[in-house]
């Protein structure tokens, strides 16, 4: 197995996709830890798995008896929208303000 599965190039791409920025020290620590974690989970690839083994998206099976029915898809106005907006970093007359949204001109 490759000693460094996550190379510097792969790492830079991952950081970009994750919408993160890292200091050089953070990047060095995190990339090392990621590679160590990948080595430890490599064991999973060696477990003999019957292809019919089902995927478990959670442990407890949900049956019709134990599952709540889905709620009707109805919209309810919030009693106090101003309270929700008060947590936003920047607002203007009930709208949340963000920097310029990048756009690309289509030919």
């Amino acid at each position: 197995m490759n000693e460094e599965q996550i190379t510097s190039e792969v790492f830079v791409r991952l950081v970009e996709l994750a919408a993160l920025e890292l200091t050089p020290n953070e990047a060095e620590y995190i990339r090392k830890q990621l590679n160590n974690q990948l080595k430890s989970i490599d064991e999973l690839t060696r477990i003999p798995l019957d292809p019919d083994t089902p995927i478990a998206s959670h442990g407890v099976p949900y049956t019709p008896v134990s599952s709540p029915g889905l709620r009707p898809d109805q919209c309810h106005p919030h009693p106090n929208p101003a309270k929700l907006l008060s947590g936003a970093p920047e607002t203007d007359e009930g709208y949340i303000v963000v920097p310029e949204i990048p756009t690309q001109k289509l030919d």
């Binding site: 996550i6 790492f11 991952l14 950081v15 996709l17 994750a18 919408a19 993160l20 920025e21 890292l22 953070e26 620590y29 995190i30 830890q33 990621l34 160590n36 974690q37 990948l38 080595k39 430890s40 989970i41 064991e43 999973l44 690839t45 477990i47 798995l49 083994t53 089902p54 995927i55 478990a56 998206s57 959670h58 442990g59 407890v60 949900y62 008896v65 134990s66 599952s67 709540p68 889905l70 709620r71 106090n80 309270k83 929700l84 008060s86 947590g87 936003a88 970093p89 920047e90 949340i96 963000v98 920097p99 310029e100 949204i101 990048p102």
Partner: protein, 522 residues
């Protein structure tokens, strides 16, 4: 130490109902004690080494809220009304739950300025039952850790039994606040052992309910298929009392199961006669990854841990339980590597919502566009552990790797679940150590994200399987640090788990370690 703070939650509620004390007096006694032992609360840019002899469980004290709640309880008593099953009982809340009007930080800079606009269902139910919310307690950032050292709010909690040790995590503030008699109850969460491991390290009871037993509404999510809110208490009766209040379906959480909630207290004293309790060899050894040589190494658990389990088995057998040895749990060792994949994928997904737009931290710089704002805000405000989890989760779920890692892990999870299903065909409960060791020193493991994760080896399989589990105090090591034992049971068997735990508690009531008190109280 005031007598009022030594009372259990059950005793406090009884005394208040009988008019032998009042909620305001109970509150004052606890707040005075917190002032004495807790020291400064955790704060952004706080000094981790400040006041090393204090507990530091809290991030935010909500004394005024608790005062209003205490007065409301006393008014109900005066008016002859039912004040609720938790009348006047103090409560701390892990700061991963939203509580209306309080800072709800997840111990992260990215939510340091977030005031929750609503209250989590579990907290709301406890408040309606008469509990007094003392405040929000510290944790690993976004619950990502097993020691509390990753909190952005420093100083982080310390273990009340020895403040040079960690309290465990991620519900470290919860366990520390209960162990230090700052509160008889705390609400924590358990994703890989985050209730049970700190409970073991701090000598308290920690119950991880069945997935879906307690609503997750208002819980800031980490691993949505694994997270379970649950109680940390000083005795089993209080865990039963608290679970009864918080359990049950919730129209605001589609995963909260519509399974009837038993009267856990009524079941508690029924003993263990006839119960089949299993011991598994896979829970008497630890397998961990040695990054130095790239090999997996297996070692037996320390004799102290194994003997605590065998002693408990013997005591329960003496009370009429049947002990079944050699219950095979062959996939236990895969719990951690599977968790490395599943939890990271879910964490990465959940953490994308923190983007500096709707709430929380936004960079004060003036980024040129929205994408730069995302990157700068998240880069400046997430700590190392969230960044590590986001990147890992994105890598193992990427299209080219998801079959190799994520989908494979979900299949291994089926095998872990199958181990439990087959075990519970033979036995009613499994009895295991909670952790491989007692509390480790502050700084002992932090930084090595792989070794730190392996501290959860005996607890994480229960999260994969969704089954309930409890950690109960089971003695002390030679340095006076608490150790815990764990009982695991099939889905929705909390009543049986609590019953067996109570039997063990009674059987060990006269042991010297039951009389010991944490050093931080001296």
């Amino acid at each position: 130490m005031s007598q009022l703070i030594e009372l259990s939650a059950f005793e406090i509620a009884e005394k208040i109902r009988r008019g032998e004390t009042c909620a305001v007096d109970v509150l004052v006694a606890h707040l005075d004690h917190i002032r004495r032992v807790d020291g400064c609360p955790g704060a952004l840019n706080g000094d981790p080494a400040r006041e090393p002899d204090q507990v530091h469980a809290f991030i935010t004290l909500t004394a005024e809220r608790a005062q209003a709640q205490a007065q409301a309880v006393d008014a109900k008593i005066a008016a002859g009304q039912d004040p609720g099953p938790l009348a006047g009982v103090p409560l701390t809340v892990k700061d991963i739950f939203c509580v209306d009007g309080t800072p709800s930080t997840a111990a992260s800079k990215i939510l340091a300025n977030f005031i929750a606009p609503y209250t989590a269902t579990s907290v709301e139910r406890m408040e309606q039952a008469g509990a007094l919310v003392l405040g929000k307690v510290n944790l690993d950032e976004f619950t990502f850790g097993s020691s509390n050292e990753s909190s952005a709010f420093q100083p982080a909690p310390r273990n009340p039994w020895d403040t040079s040790r960690v309290p465990g995590g991620s519900s470290g503030g919860s366990a520390a606040s209960v162990a230090a008699y700052e509160s008889p109850l705390s609400l924590g969460t358990d994703t890989a052992g985050s209730i049970r491991q700190p409970a073991a390290f701090c000598g308290v009871v920690g119950l991880k309910p069945t997935y879906g037993r307690v609503s997750r509404y208002g819980l800031i999510a980490f691993g949505s298929s694994l997270d379970c809110p649950g109680p940390l208490t000083r005795n089993v009766t209080d865990a039963a009392l608290m679970l009864k209040v918080i359990a049950g379906p919730d129209p605001r959480d589609a995963t909260a199961a519509t399974v009837p909630v038993p009267d856990y207290l009524a079941e508690l004293e029924k003993g263990v006669k006839g119960l089949r309790i299993g011991l598994s060899p896979e829970y008497f050894e630890i397998t961990y990854f040695n990054a130095e040589n790239g090999q997996f190494e297996t070692q037996p658990v320390p004799a102290l841990m194994k003997n605590a389990v065998l002693d408990a088995a013997q005591r329960l057998a003496g009370l009429g339980a049947e002990i079944v040895e050699n219950v095979a749990m062959p996939h236990t060792r895969y719990g951690i590597p599977t968790y490395f994949v599943i939890s990271r994928v879910e964490a990465a997904s959940n953490l994308h919502r923190f983007d500096g737009v709707k709430y929380g931290y936004r960079t004060p710089a003036q980024p040129q566009d929205l994408r730069a704002m995302y990157r700068q805000s998240r880069g400046e405000a997430f700590g190392l552990q969230p960044k590590l989890r986001i990147l890992m989760g994105m890598y193992v779920s990427a299209a080219q790797y998801s079959e190799q890692y994520y989908n494979r892990s979900l299949r291994v999870r089926s095998l872990i679940r199958r181990d439990f299903d087959e075990a519970f065909d033979q036995v009613d409960l499994l009895l295991t150590p909670t952790t491989p060791t007692a509390a480790f020193p502050v700084g002992g493991l932090y930084g090595d994200s792989v070794l730190m994760q392996y501290a959860d080896q005996f607890t994480v399989p229960g999260n994969h399987a969704g089954i309930p589990g409890i950690s109960i105090p089971a003695g002390m090591d030679s340095e006076g640090l608490p150790i815990g034992i764990q009982l695991l049971g099939p889905d929705f068997s909390e009543d049986v788990i609590l019953r067996a735990s109570r039997s063990y508690e009674i059987a060990t009531q006269s042991e010297a370690w039951r009389q010991a008190r944490p050093a931080a109280l001296a």
